[in-house]
């Protein structure tokens, strides 16, 4: 038997003491930072030197164009953006739900046979793959695809948002379903409930408020994305911004951008209020 230690080990504070592992991590991060900055030509001097043109651009925006015509265009663009983002989130949620349900791992029957295992694993991986494709292609690329297929306008933009939202929501939904406390679910399965029953009565009720919160957040993101989609011709206020930019009509750009900021802030606030009031 080893002799008892003569000195008590020190516990130490909250700051970790030096060790090689973390030190190496810090070095790697520093290295990556320098390499990336060099790669993108990060130059603060250039940024400071560019203040002149930026100042000119901004000063030309003022006073913003508040003529009735412009306000009408702005209102129309904002409404369109709003509708696109809302429909996009809603359709995305509807598409993603069944995919998320299939993409939720549920280890329940120990000792299941090989064919039973396959029956569960194949839909799981297929739906995961579909969701990954939906998600990893940025919404602006989806918009380009749909604009080519369907022509200009808000409809292809909405579809782009829907597909991308479905990808993101599907992943988050399935993660929420998996992270739900599993003991009630296991208790259900122990009474002979099947996978669908365990999902509907065990996982879903526990995940519902999380779903609502995620969907609202996706809607917020869609509002911001919908603003950009207009740049590739997929409707919304972005299209108006692009046109005015090309016409050097900076006062109108100011009105359009200002209105966009206000709407984004309002939607953020609204959705945050709802999310806070959700009961878990």
């Amino acid at each position: 038997m080893a002799s008892p230690p003569t000195e008590r080990p020190r516990i130490g504070g909250a700051v970790p003491r030096f060790s090689w592992g973390p030190a190496l991590v810090v070095l790697v991060i520093l290295g990556l930072t320098g390499w990336s900055a060099q790669g993108v030509g990060f130059d603060l001097v250039e940024l400071v030197g560019g203040t002149g043109p930026i100042e000119k651009f901004i000063s030309e925006m003022f006073p913003p164009d508040l003529s009735a015509r412009t306000l009408q265009t702005t209102g129309k663009g904002i409404l369109e953006t709003f509708q696109m983002s809302f429909l996009g989130a809603l359709i995305g949620a509807v598409i993603s739900f069944p995919l998320a349900a299939l993409a939720t791992g549920d280890a329940s029957t120990s000792g299941a046979s090989r064919s039973e295992h396959l029956l569960r694993v194949v839909p799981y991986h297929v739906s995961r793959f579909v969701l990954n494709v939906f998600r990893s292609v940025p919404d602006i690329l989806w918009a380009l695809v749909f604009v080519v297929a369907l022509g200009l306008g808000p409809f292809p933009g909405t579809l782009a948002l829907a597909v991308h939202s479905a990808g993101i929501l599907g992943k988050l939904y399935s993660e929420t379903l998996e992270a739900v406390p599993s003991r009630p679910v296991e208790a259900l399965r122990a009474t002979g409930a099947g996978a669908l029953q365990a999902l509907l009565f065990g996982r879903l009720p526990q995940a519902m408020s999380g779903f609502t919160s995620l969907t609202l957040y996706q809607w917020e993101c869609n509002i911001r994305s919908a603003t950009i989609l207009g740049f590739v011709g997929a409707g919304g206020i972005g299209q108006q911004i692009l046109i005015s930019m090309n016409l050097f009509d900076y006062p109108k750009v100011a009105t359009l951008v200002g209105a966009t900021i206000i709407v984004v802030l309002l939607v953020d606030r609204f959705s945050a209020t709802i999310r806070r009031s959700l009961v878990y």
Binding site: A107, S108, T109, S110, G111, A112, S113, E116, P181, S182, R183, P184, E186, A187, L188, R189, A190, T191, G192, A193, G194, L196, Q197, L200, F201, G202, P205, Q206, M208, S209
Partner: protein, 282 residues
């Protein structure tokens, strides 16, 4: 299929990443029997229960339920068997967001087809089931809580709802995993009576207990110690030396037989069961 009430374990071993939870357990229980399982924390009581619903994989041995090899059943057969095994737990394991009445109704959900499942999901249980739920909640004294959110109920009330779920299910084998560990004495008595009633109606009853006093009210007691059966017989003979051995932290006489003392079990034993072993991991 034969009745699910009786079961037999033959040299059953279960281990989680090398740590033995059950180690060569042999145990036979006749239909209609009622027995208490006692043992220190980590003795394998909960694992024993999870074996009986095939919720863990066996390392070794054979489990027969209703004269069928449990681990050889097909998925459909397993579902059918699980229908006839009811469980209650220390942590209630109800779905907290659902109304208490729906939780009680879930005792029946395993027997529903796809259509009835959807119907129950969307509009609630049908009239027959709703009446049975009301009756069950009435029997455990929480009938006025049927529409209340389960999460808003007290622990004792939740355990009563769990018993109501059991009554709705009408199982042939009842597995109660530390049902009294987190409830008040009145609820304990009520739950105990409800379980005994189920037993008198023919269900086999298996109860995990910490309280040896309560265990003495059962005709047969099985004691587990480090995954092995340490005692199996009537409660009258369970006293003194035997009892001390079961709950002893480390016992010099047994040191040679087991390489690992109990308190050196991995501290992360919660994660050993894939995070499914929460508060009631005994």
């Amino acid at each position: 299929m034969a009745s699910a009430g009786g079961f037999a374990l033959q040299d059953v071993a279960v281990s989680f990443r090398g740590a033995a939870a059950l180690d060569g357990v042999t145990l036979a229980v006749e239909p209609g029997e009622s027995l208490a399982v006692v043992g220190a924390s980590g003795a394998g009581k909960t694992t024993l229960f999870r074996v009986l619903t095939r919720s863990v994989a066996l390392t070794d041995g054979k489990v027969t339920v209703g004269r069928r090899d449990l681990y050889a059943l097909s998925k459909g057969e397993l579902k059918g068997l699980r229908r006839r095994i009811g469980s209650i737990y220390q942590a209630y394991n109800l779905v907290p967001q659902l109304p208490a009445g729906v939780n009680a109704a879930l005792g029946e959900v395993g027997g529903m087809g796809a259509r009835a499942t959807l119907r129950t999901f969307l509009v609630g249980p049908n009239r027959t089931l709703a009446a049975r739920v009301a009756d069950a909640l009435d029997r455990v004294g929480v009938e006025e809580k049927a529409r209340a959110r389960t999460a808003d109920l007290s622990g004792g009330q939740q355990q009563r709802v769990a018993v109501a779920r059991l009554l709705v299910q009408r199982p042939e084998l009842v597995l109660a995993d530390e049902p009294f560990a987190a409830v008040d004495p009145v609820t304990t008595e009520r739950v105990f009576e409800a379980l005994m009633e189920l037993n008198h109606e023919g269900a086999t009853l298996l109860v995990n207990l910490h309280d040896v006093g309560l265990a003495r009210r059962f005709p047969r007691v099985v004691a587990l110690r480090e995954g092995k059966v340490a005692y199996n017989g009537p409660p009258e003979k369970l006293f003194g030396e035997t009892l001390n051995e079961i709950y002893a932290g480390d016992d010099p006489h047994r040191e040679a037989a087991r390489p690992e003392p109990a308190d050196e079990r991995p501290k992360d034993s919660i994660s050993l069961t894939e995070g499914r072993d929460g508060v009631s991991s005994h």
